[in-house]
Symmetry: C2
Subunit: 376 residues, 2 copies
Amino acid sequence: MTRLRFELLNTSGRGRRGRIFTAHGVVETPTFMPVGTAATVKAMTVDAVKATGAQIVLGNTYHLMLRPTAERIARLGGLHKFMNWEGPILTDSGGYQVMSLTALRKMSENGVTFRSHLDGSAHTLTPERSTEIQNLLDATITMAFDECTPYPATHEVAKQSMELSMRWAERSRKAFVARPGYGQFGIVQGSVYPDLRARSMDALIPMDFEGYAVGGLAVGEGQPIMFAVLDQTTPRLPVEKPRYLMGVGKPADLVGAVQRGIDMFDCVLPTRSGRTGQAFTRRGTVNIRNARHQDDPRPLDPDCTCPACSSYSRAYLHHLTRAGEILGAMLLTWHNIHYYQELMAGMRKAIEEDRLDSFAAEFHREQAAGDLAPWQ
Amino acid sequence: MTRLRFELLNTSGRGRRGRIFTAHGVVETPTFMPVGTAATVKAMTVDAVKATGAQIVLGNTYHLMLRPTAERIARLGGLHKFMNWEGPILTDSGGYQVMSLTALRKMSENGVTFRSHLDGSAHTLTPERSTEIQNLLDATITMAFDECTPYPATHEVAKQSMELSMRWAERSRKAFVARPGYGQFGIVQGSVYPDLRARSMDALIPMDFEGYAVGGLAVGEGQPIMFAVLDQTTPRLPVEKPRYLMGVGKPADLVGAVQRGIDMFDCVLPTRSGRTGQAFTRRGTVNIRNARHQDDPRPLDPDCTCPACSSYSRAYLHHLTRAGEILGAMLLTWHNIHYYQELMAGMRKAIEEDRLDSFAAEFHREQAAGDLAPWQ
């Protein structure tokens, strides 16, 4: 087996139905990757994650390098064994968290020095170190180390940031240890500026990464700008490589991005929302903490087959959430990940049948219809 | 089917192997009931609870009457349906929590008035109201409303408290709505005084409860005194009724109490400890937060078949617990309940084979041997 390989099976408009072959199994795309920040998808067992249909999860280099450390995970046999997830794992490069979580950081051409948010200890991340850490973790897919350009940024700031990320991409690529069924993705930067995005792709594509991510989005620019950037970007990416939109998003973001040729997503939204009582359903978002649910014997979503919907009432989920019970977080997280996976499966089928746009129209119609009418 | 029925199958010394037939299924005794305070065994799905071998769970009248309220649970079809637990449920009477959780309470011959720890609202519990609440919850086993005598208590205080509880037991019994396969247990009080325990039993036994609990123990008196009270108490209880030691306990407490003729237990220890990193194993208790586990690739208990032990290292469980991850609470709770259920299953088998004392000796030998030696 050569490096990680992508097979494009069908298209529907710009939507792509594909398959990623990895050392840890096959990923059907478009795919959503649940976030397993600290070597666990929060509030879920791996069996539950698998049961939702998820095929690949994400791990966070920043969190894992600080605790329990990459070296420790390597000694224990790698991240797959550590967290008991046999399937593919994508790790981010740590760059995004360094920018967003740590106050005391110092950027240079070489990389970033920063202090841990846990104990204040000093650390350095460079393209080489980030790649080494991801290698120690045994990540199936390694991400190039980049600077996530803040939003908004002037053209000049965005240009310098993108150019730094491109130099870092080259160093990341050199540091990557190729292994059969493993791969490394480069990250397109350039903020909202089409010329910078184009130059970023011109720089990355010759490096021949196994896939390309679109970075620097979902940072506050809003869906119309995000979609506009995708419209300018994905047509210039190589068709034979998977495309990953980092940190996205809400269900409507996923649908629109798949329509714009994205194959992979990750986001904390379904897991984080599950811990605060917010559920995603085909009829839109439902805040189960709302008092209107307290006597409602109906399931959260009558058409959903997840355990939260098939075995429990809204009244019970409301009770658990109000009482701060862990089971509330467990069930709502499960539901949200299940819903996200069903949405992706629906899009995969729609692309196979070349009806992605009508799928999207039906999705928007259902979302707009809103939640079930109040129970009598 | 008549009221809940107990069948005594075997004995070994004073240890009893029995079977309780209820409207919601059979319970093999001796049994341990996981505590489902607020209509959930904390951090566990019902499937996980079932998978440990648990056959009956406990619900708390005090917590449920305040939130979501007994009336709401009744409207929603009862506690079994609400929490998706089809098996038997025993509910306590609320008396213990009123005494221990609420600051503003007022006792009278009639009952207790108190303020909710949640919102300060005023409530009254009487024998009639406690029994009505448990009926609304559809409890398989209803407990008589009693006063849990504080420890230590003078003979005079313990006498008056016990006598009040006996008058309340009579009122509770009258308020109980008999249904096929349902039952109500009376509670023996009398603190550490054999004459008071005897008078309590003399009062309760003519009321012909479907079972008898030993109350007022595990309140700080220590294991030797607790065992001494059991030695004086269980021989005077009717052999044809199940016996329940409330709020107990550590594994060694369970073994000693089964040797003294107890059939049923409940305790928050395995669930609460699971959320704070303490694990119960056949080699004693293990604090997984301890730094000695951080590089240990071995399972918590190599002889345990629970998911925490069969799929994860101590290093991983240590990491989860240190990182405050919900999965740590989920896995350790699962392990602890699994261990408790295995311990009970072991005792049931030992009684069947009339070797309970040698089982207990082996249990104590293993516990004393201590945890695995440090990993190299």
